[in-house]
């Protein structure tokens, strides 16, 4: 089974791209499942069910979604193997831009959109910088010039990645994306594999449920702005 991690800022079009991509893979006789990681709410199961894509949803609640992802990915992989998928996609929203969901030796896709602003590629960390494929969406509504500048800036942040424009609504570009995904490595186990970069760290009193403000309540891994 091929495992592909798909990540990207909220509402960048991850689900739309996945739906079109998997429909394309299904046409060539492959089957695929999705594990959707989210924070508070995820209602995409119906959209996936409509084209017969088995989906599991994991809500991280008050935990860092990134940490939640990595502590569940192995079980997710086993589920995929049990279901005898050809492809297993994980979808996770990068909520703090310092997220780092990509695993070494596992095909990593980052989805971002043209409407996020020209500075956005600089603001996203390992999720964008260390992805193998960067999918840019919502290209049909901005000017050619803005697309070119945006793509250039994405490449500045990640020169190694293949950059691809995909239209999540009409599916333009999904055929090309499916050809890239076909080359993803087969993953049997993730034991001993590593993340491509450390995840955002946090271990302070607020992680453990503290709600009061003030120096005496701040304990643990803290950082101060130099005003």
């Amino acid at each position: 089974m091929k495992l592909i991690t798909v990540s990207g800022p909220p509402s960048s079009g991850k689900t739309a791209v996945l739906l079109k991509l998997i429909a394309q893979l299904q046409q060539s006789g492959k089957n695929a499942g999705v594990i959707k990681f989210d924070c508070l709410y995820a209602n995409e199961s119906q959209q996936f069910a409509r084209i017969n894509i088995p989906v599991k949803i994991g809500l991280s609640g008050n935990l860092c979604p990134d940490h939640f992802f990595v502590s569940n990915i192995e079980d997710g992989l086993s589920w995929g193997h049990e279901q005898k998928f050809d492809y297993l996609f994980t979808e996770s929203a990068g909520l703090c831009n310092r997220c780092s969901p990509h695993i070494k030796n596992v095909l990593a896709v980052c989805v971002i959109d043209n409407l996020m602003g020209m500075e956005t590629p600089k603001k996203i960390g390992p999720m964008l910088r260390l992805a193998d494929i960067v999918v840019i969406t919502k290209s049909d509504i901005v000017s050619q010039a803005e697309r070119e500048v945006f793509a250039f800036r994405v490449r500045q942040a990640n020169a190694k990645a293949t950059i691809l424009f995909v239209n999540g609504i009409n599916g333009q570009g999904t055929f090309e994306l499916s050809r890239l995904v076909e080359n993803a490595p087969e993953i049997i186990t993730l034991e001993q594999e590593r993340l491509r970069f450390s995840m955002p760290a946090a271990l302070c009193s607020y992680c453990l449920g503290e709600t009061k403000i003030g120096a005496e309540y701040q304990v643990g891994n803290l950082k101060k702005i130099d005003f």
Partner: protein
């Protein structure tokens, strides 16, 4: 230091020596959150100064950053070396949705206009995607694309510098919060254009010739009218886009001189494809591709009779434009 960019050499250069011609290097690192304060320090020294913890905060390791930098430099300059302009694109037919052969062998040459007609869902987008992907009998249509009559280098499929198709459509808008001038300079810089300011002036001048109402470099992008936006997009694509093929998806008649717009693209030796059902635009093209059931159904060469009809249509069009102008200036329309 010139075209032969040597990463090691750049890394050993001092910050001060890079400030002019290689300011983009300093910009590159500062975009990753690494700033330079000492002019006599080399880039390498600065990068070594940072601790692993600091790299952790930046969200990239020193090794990953250096790898990315090297690749970035390579790509930045790879597009410039090559001087093999695209003269023609040739489409060798595959099959339609029912599997019937297309029997097509179509040339699109630079400075020429081809219109594409056919109902929604007939396969216009797929045709364009085949061109962009440089299909080699490896797409659902089985088409093959030749460039300058040769098999293309498909390793360039994802190269930004070699992107074949630029698109212009009715739905596109400028969304950036910048002035026309600021934005065009940004675009020129991303393309490594040497004399950015004179290029920007040229684009604005050309765009104003296409648009009914003129704008300046100071005008914010987002306050351009529909016609002005379209005019700017076309002038920018004609002069600043690297893509040899331009796809135009219906340009409406309001606020832009479509004939001049097409001439501008032709003068800049673009290969123009135009999806349109507007008779004037369709007949301005030398040839017309009819798409049906996912395949190229036929190729029509615009005949003399059609060109004559175009003249009549243009006269009609001019009359309607005149009426519009009258309405705009508050006159009554008593006779036509």
């Amino acid at each position: 230091m010139d075209k032969n960019i040597n990463t090691a050499e750049i890394l050993l250069s001092t910050v001060g020596s890079l400030e002019n011609e290689f300011a983009f290097v300093l910009q590159y690192f500062s975009d990753f959150g690494i700033h330079f304060n000492e002019k006599l320090q080399s880039i390498d020294q600065r990068l070594n100064e940072l601790t692993p913890d600091e790299y952790d905060d930046l969200g990239i390791s020193q090794e990953q950053l250096l790898q990315n930098f090297e690749q970035f430099l390579q790509q930045k300059f790879s597009g410039q070396k090559e001087d093999n302009p695209i003269q023609s694109i040739r489409i060798l037919g595959g099959h339609n949705k029912s599997g019937e052969a297309e029997n097509a062998d179509i040339y699109l040459s630079k400075g020429s206009i081809t219109s594409i007609v056919g109902p929604t869902g007939s396969g216009k987008s797929r045709l364009l995607a085949d061109i962009e992907w440089m299909a080699q009998n490896d797409t659902p249509t089985g088409r093959t694309i030749l460039i300058n009559d040769e098999l293309p280098d498909i390793s360039l499929r994802f190269s930004l510098e070699h992107k074949l198709v630029a698109q212009l459509s009715q739905n596109m808008n400028f969304v950036m919060d910048a002035s026309v001038q600021e934005f065009l300079i940004m675009h020129a810089e991303s393309r490594n254009v040497k004399n950015a300011t004179s290029m920007v002036d040229k684009i604005i001048l050309q765009a104003n010739e296409l648009a009914g109402e003129s704008f300046t470099g100071e005008t914010p992008l987002t306050s351009l009218s529909g016609g002005q936006s379209r005019a700017l997009m076309i002038a920018d694509t004609a002069l600043l886009s690297t893509s040899p093929v331009v796809l135009i998806d219906e340009i409406e008649n309001a606020g832009i001189d479509r004939k001049k717009a097409l001439q501008l693209l032709v003068r800049n030796e673009k290969i123009i494809l135009m999806a349109t059902h507007d008779p004037i635009l369709a007949l301005m093209a030398e040839q017309r591709l009819v798409i049906k059931n996912g395949g190229i159904h036929k190729l029509l060469i615009t005949s003399k009779a059609e060109k004559n009809n175009l003249k009549q249509l243009e006269t009609l069009d001019a009359q309607i434009m005149e009426l519009r102008q009258k309405l705009r200036s508050g006159e009554e329309i008593n006779s036509t």
